[in-house]
């Protein structure tokens, strides 16, 4: 049996995602809270502004004497102006905290005071509910709805009301097509090859962009956009996947969230579109690897038919010789235009147990 990776594309999924800090901090949500993509789930703050206070010199004593003049302990948090050290000699002297902060370290009569800081924030990245709190680290979020996983994202998150450029996503993104776009929407488009569209999308306050394909020369421009962009099929001009089109059409007008993160195999993260739905026969999300089976809807991940999608009509674990001369197990798929192709099984990802009924 041949196992390949899965990119979930399903209308009715139980979706669970874990959001966690890389270092212990504070969880800012509670059980049962409803969250949106840009909500902060947890934060961790680390002070980084460092000041070295020469206590010995400030008090006019030797470093060894300075330790006994300390009025505070290491680890204490002080406010600006607080007395830190005091010398009760003939001429009493004080050392006060120049800024508020934490007393971190002591060496040879000098004290390290830290303040300010860097924050690590973990955002929800989806519309959902907090189903579990992970103490000091993060939370587990849950929702039910349509899940469309992509293959590339520009590392942003957002949400908005979904609109499609056209019902088949065959129209390319063009300046002329954007006149009818309303402010603050989430847009699904078949293909984008014009960088000029991006500034117009920013002007329209676009909250996210879902693309079937993108011209590779626009990758840098896409990364720089302030709104999240998720790519579903590949770089280059690729016919839109009918399954994804159907799912997006069904959800037009709904509130959609995009988490356009990068792929993280360890954490299991993929860029994805989640559309919460209240009614439906919800199933558990597909596993990240599955065995190829007849009737599955698959996407070609490499080669001549890159990005195209179709139905598995035959597969073999025996080696097939391809035109390149390489032998490998193969799968025969029927594309949406009824053309049949044979591809190396390794060059496939499973999208769904089956294509949606016409």
């Amino acid at each position: 049996m041949i196992s390949v990776e899965v990119l979930s594309r399903s209308k009715y999924s139980e979706i669970t995602r874990v959001r966690r800090l890389s270092t212990p901090g504070n969880v800012l949500v509670s059980l049962g809270d409803t969250v949106h993509p840009s909500d902060v789930i947890a934060e961790a703050s680390t002070p980084t502004q460092v000041q070295i206070l020469d206590i010995a010199r400030g008090l006019g004593v030797s470093p060894s004497q300075a330790a006994s003049c300390m009025m505070r302990d290491l680890g204490e948090v002080v406010q600006q102006g607080d007395v830190i050290a005091q010398n009760e000699g003939n001429l009493p002297r004080l050392v006060r905290a120049p800024v508020g902060g934490k007393l971190l370290d002591w060496q040879n009569g000098s004290l390290t005071l830290v303040s300010g800081g860097q924050s690590e924030l973990v955002k929800a990245g989806m519309i959902g509910e907090v189903s579990e709190i992970i103490l000091n680290i993060g939370a587990v979020l849950r929702t039910q709805g349509c899940l469309i996983q992509g293959i590339w994202g520009n590392d942003r998150a957002g949400s908005g009301s979904l609109t499609l450029l056209d019902s088949n996503l065959e129209t390319q993104l063009d300046e002329a097509e954007l006149d009818t776009l309303e402010q603050g929407q989430m847009l699904a488009v078949g293909h984008c090859s014009k960088a000029d569209c991006f500034p117009l999308l920013v002007e329209k306050d676009l909250t996210g962009l879902i693309l079937c394909s993108l011209a590779p020369e626009l990758i840098h421009a896409a990364v720089a956009q302030p709104f999240p962009i998720v790519l579903l099929q590949g770089f280059g001009q690729i016919p839109p996947d009918p399954l994804s089109v159907s799912l997006l059409c069904d959800c037009a007008g709904e509130e959609v969230s995009i988490n356009a993160c990068g792929r993280d195999k360890i954490a299991g993260d993929r860029p994805e579109v989640i559309i919460p739905l209240s009614d439906g026969d919800f199933e558990e999300e597909m596993e990240s690897w599955m065995e190829l089976e007849m009737g599955q809807w698959v996407q070609v991940s490499a080669g001549v038919a890159l990005g195209q999608t179709g139905e598995v009509i035959a597969y073999s674990s025996e080696d097939t010789q391809f035109e390149s001369g390489i032998k490998a197990p193969s799968t025969r798929i029927r594309l949406h235009n009824n053309e049949e192709i044979t591809v190396p099984s390794e060059n496939l990802v499973i999208l769904s147990h089956s294509k949606l009924k016409d």
Partner: protein, 585 residues
């Protein structure tokens, strides 16, 4: 029994980013050999975990060797169950884990920083910052950067033995500060590898607040590097960290199993061992090392050894894209693609390749593109290796050329190449070796495992290296001459086993293949022109070689170094195609 003591059976597991391999080693007709081999995709996502890949690979191996290696268990077990493996000895090498963030404090660019960077580049470590003596004044910036990056390891190097102390101690204070700022559970492990004179002070300042290793100086004297002790510790520490994060693998490192290591570390041990053997058998006037090259799914690893010393370089698959930029790489890949292809097609290919790990090139163009990118990866890795290890510049102190023989290569782009000639040509174009060498294909990626197994049973690697697990692609002779293209630079007189003798004139710019049946012996008398160097110590000096024919026969590569490609697209593609045809298509 082998040499009077009981023979062992060993199961080797190689957990790569893309594939998990299970290899069974044991006795075959009195010698150790590879009894079977299974491979399956590696799964490292939270739901399925590493064990699924291991189970599938061992299952595939089990069918081949007709032996039960897995005890019956639940069909879709996602828990690792070490008791299910019915083997006394299991060794594992792993490269599937994420690279660990590491920062380096040192002093001088040519000294401790150079040694430290070579160390970082030799292991799956992501360099998040390198700071030398000049940066000591930027304390606040360094703190900001490292708090942001949160390194898991911090290497403090600097000061030769009996050398600088004060700046090293200044770095120690910076390291202490960073540790105190970070949460106790996420403080970096510190490896102190500098001037041993201040080791006690280092321990006093750092041991109370974080895990500290005090290790031999990376740079004990000017011009010397001693990385192995620190690599040994890092190897162990990286494995510990991966155990904590890679799902379904933690039990595999239980005491039941003999050895676990990162993949590159035992690979360098094997190369060091082989280079020491070579040094012991040294033929006068020839300085030869040993090299191993792996073009893995996630990274390229080059290890080279000379006289018992070795260096290793690991680079992520798309490192050259990140460093050189998309445009430069698109241009370079296009230059090396033996098919008429536009810049846009190359750009599209590379952009999409970065999205998925797994890829079988099914068309001639996609094969040509993937082989071209493999060349660029190798060239970039060799360049990086030379930066870290000056001795690798293939010239000894007295300007005698150093060659590396054999060059042991592995990686799907070579082991799955449609013809052995294509595998050979990828290596020749990527590494561009000099002198006389033999290209060996490690078909089952077994070299790293042998580096581990050799600690249990030293004979096993020796037997395996002489077995069919390593395919001899052929001997390569690289004559080096300043003569213009088209002029004779070398005559080769061939005495075949069949008795058929013949001679070949090699012209400057030629790529020639002598068809020598695989496994049969030929004697080559090399007669270079006066200023042509062929690896016998000095220009113009010839010699006799007894070689065994490989899958490609014997190759004479007189294309010059570096290999230059025509600017004209049609001429270049025709030439690349011609070279491919010469080596068998």
């Amino acid at each position: 029994m082998v040499d009077g003591h009981p023979a062992i059976n060993v199961l080797g597991l190689d957990l790569g980013r893309m594939n998990t391999r299970a290899t069974l080693y044991g006795l075959i007709e009195g010698n150790y050999g590879l009894q079977g081999y299974g491979v399956a995709p590696t799964r490292i996502d939270p739901s399925s975990g590493l064990w699924m890949g291991i189970e599938a690979a061992v299952g595939s191996l089990q069918e081949q060797v007709d032996r039960v290696l897995l005890k019956p268990g639940s069909k879709r077990s996602s828990r690792t169950d070490p008791l299910r493996l019915r083997m006394d000895q299991v060794v594992s090498v792993i490269s599937a884990g994420p690279w660990r963030k590491t920062a380096l404090f040192g002093l001088t660019r040519g000294g401790s920083l150079r040694a430290g960077k070579a160390l970082l580049a030799s292991m799956p470590l992501e360099n998040v910052g390198t700071y030398g003596i000049g940066e000591l004044v930027n304390g606040q910036e360094i703190v900001d950067e490292l708090v942001h990056h949160h390194p898991e390891f911090l290497i403090i190097s600097g000061g030769e033995d009996a050398g600088a102390e004060k700046p090293v101690l200044a770095w120690v204070e910076t390291a202490r500060l960073i540790c105190l700022l970070l949460n106790e559970t996420t403080r970096p492990v510190i490896l102190y590898t500098g001037n041993p004179r201040v080791a006690e002070t280092v321990k006093r300042r750092l041991e109370p607040i974080t895990k500290l290793y005090v290790l031999p100086n990376l740079r004990p004297e000017h011009g010397q590097m001693d990385l192995v002790p620190t690599q040994t510790v890092l190897d162990w520490e990286i494995i510990q960290k991966w155990q904590g994060t890679l799902p379904g693998w933690v039990e595999l490192s239980s005491p039941q199993y003999h050895a676990v290591s990162t993949t590159s570390f035992p690979m360098s041990r094997m190369v060091r061992f082989l280079s020491q053997l070579k040094a012991n058998r040294k033929v006068s006037n020839q300085i030869q090392g040993v090299m191993s090259v792996n073009l893995g799914g996630d990274s390229t690893v080059i290890t080279a050894g000379l006289d018992g010393h070795s260096g290793t370089m690991m680079q992520k698959r798309w490192e050259c894209l990140k460093r050189e930029g998309q445009e430069a790489i698109v241009h370079s890949v296009r230059q090396w693609t033996s098919a008429p292809i536009t810049k846009e097609e190359v750009h599209r290919f590379i952009s999409n390749r970065t999205l998925f790990d797994r890829f079988i090139p099914e068309s001639p163009n996609s094969l040509a593109l993937s082989q071209a990118y493999a060349r660029i990866q190798l060239q970039f890795a060799i360049k990086g290796f030379k930066n870290h290890y000056a001795w690798f510049n293939m010239l000894s102190e007295n300007e005698t050329m150093i060659s590396f023989e054999p060059i042991i290569a592995s990686g799907a782009v070579m082991t799955q190449a449609p013809t052995p000639g294509q595998a050979m040509l990828t290596i020749l174009d990527g590494i561009q070796p000099q002198g006389i060498t033999t290209i060996i294909l490690d078909k089952y990626h077994t070299l790293p495992l042998l580096g581990l197994i050799g600690q249990i049973e030293p004979l096993l690697p020796v037997h395996l290296l002489a077995s069919s697990a390593f395919e001899n692609l052929g001997t390569v002779i690289v004559p080096s001459s300043e003569k213009p293209p088209g002029e004779v630079i070398l005559k080769v007189h061939v005495q075949a086993e069949t008795g058929k003798n013949y001679s070949v004139d090699v012209l400057q710019g030629d790529l020639r293949r002598l068809v020598v049946p695989s496994g049969s012996q030929v004697v080559l008398d090399l007669e270079p022109e006066p200023n042509t160097f062929v690896g016998f110590g000095e220009p113009g000096k010839g010699g006799r070689l007894k070689v065994i024919g490989g899958a490609v026969g014997v190759v004479i590569d007189a294309r010059g170094r570096p290999v230059r490609l025509a600017q004209d697209d049609a001429v270049r593609v025709a030439k690349l195609d011609q070279w491919k045809s010469i080596l068998g298509g």
